[in-house]
Symmetry: C2
């Protein structure tokens, strides 16, 4: 059976989409092989078969699934004998909440910190006009005005992040003793930052830094060596 | 076997401690009977046997446990045949993260909204000097300066709360299809607000309001009728 993940491709082949990384890590967690098909913002025709416009899209044999959360639930249901992404219904419910927390609390704070860097360092030249125009329309100001690379914005991000840091101070993973999908949700966001800037925006020391090392070490160092070579 | 929960008591016998409510709901979830022993801030001698100064304290037969999270873990281990509070290790790990999120993100935002009301309406007269002095020392300003009952502070709270509202828009409980300890963590905080003010500080409509009704309905309306009669 053919399994293909369509994921966002950036400058120098960087894979910087946090949502696509969630699915990458979920596939690795389940031990499922896949081919990765790069898609730039300007190549939405590549995923027209999914009847929507956003990556990630997973084609699993004859089945097509869009949206990282929907894909995770699909994988959990379809491959129940592989390692669980959620550890049961309570874990799935709370992972859903983690998904919203990262999307609605962490991402807005992180965007302030790095989106100008994302433009400079992660967006392919062919996509830069689209990226700038769509984001500046959303923000109501230029990328550089929205994201002035200020230390104050880094502090605000780390303040929003503080509950996760506290959790990682008392247990090795957000999901407890072993990694699960909730960890991949936040880790995908770290990969977005890593592809965008060399500045330290997430802590690289303390409990969070130790968790990052554990996450990068998973699956034989998968997140170091695959996909985002330059990140 | 005797089981006693020592919990904070306020004005007109109100039980307004969010941490004590977590344990109340955990006991109800497990179907465990308990006697409730009220403790005012000025009555720390009542819990001296626990070798620390904070409620809740649970005395379960010969075992004494302090701290709401520690108590929840104890109950889960000690009474494994009763309904699970966590639904497994992933659910427990993510509930721990919820615990930190409520304590570190929701409580500071809520304190701005209601702590002056807590002083006026929930703290017993005998405790008011202690409460004001300890909090004003911590905040570096008067209770009324810290908590001016502004609409802006309510908006900030609801912004921090927004991921939980989004979760409750797609599933009935934070823990998924059924309530579990993560729900009781946030619900305890709502009880604190309800004992402090009649103002609407948490949404009473939409997905969050519907969740509140479900939470109040649990265990034959337990949180309406027990403990905090006036809340």
């Amino acid at each position: 059976m053919t399994r293909t993940l369509y994921e966002l491709q950036g400058q120098d082949d960087k894979r910087f989409s946090p949502f696509c990384w969630r699915t990458r890590m979920a596939l690795a967690h389940k031990g499922l092989e896949a081919t990765f098909e790069p898609v730039q913002f300007s190549q939405k025709d590549k995923i027209a078969f999914s009847n929507q416009k956003l990556v990630p899209v997973l084609r699993d044999g004859e089945t097509v699934i869009a949206d990282s959360w929907t894909i995770a639930c699909y994988l959990e249901d379809k491959y129940p004998d592989a390692a669980s992404l959620f550890g049961g219904s309570v874990g799935q419910g709370l992972a859903r909440n983690m998904n919203f927390w990262v999307d609605m609390s962490i991402h807005p704070a992180l965007a302030r910190v790095i989106v100008a860097d994302t433009f400079d360092n992660a967006i392919d030249t062919a996509d830069q006009v689209y990226f700038r125009e769509s984001r500046e329309s959303r923000f109501g100001m230029t990328l550089e005005e929205f994201s002035p690379r200020s230390d104050a914005d880094v502090s605000k991000l780390q303040n929003v992040l503080s509950p996760a840091i506290a959790t990682l101070n008392v247990q090795p993973f957000l999901s407890g003793d072993a990694p699960a999908y909730a960890d991949y949700i936040l880790f995908g966001t770290v990969k977005w930052a890593a592809a965008s800037t060399d500045r330290i925006v997430f802590p690289n020391d303390g409990p969070f830094g130790a968790w990052l090392i554990r996450m990068y070490d998973l699956f034989d160092g998968y997140a170091r060596t695959s996909g985002a070579a330059a990140a």
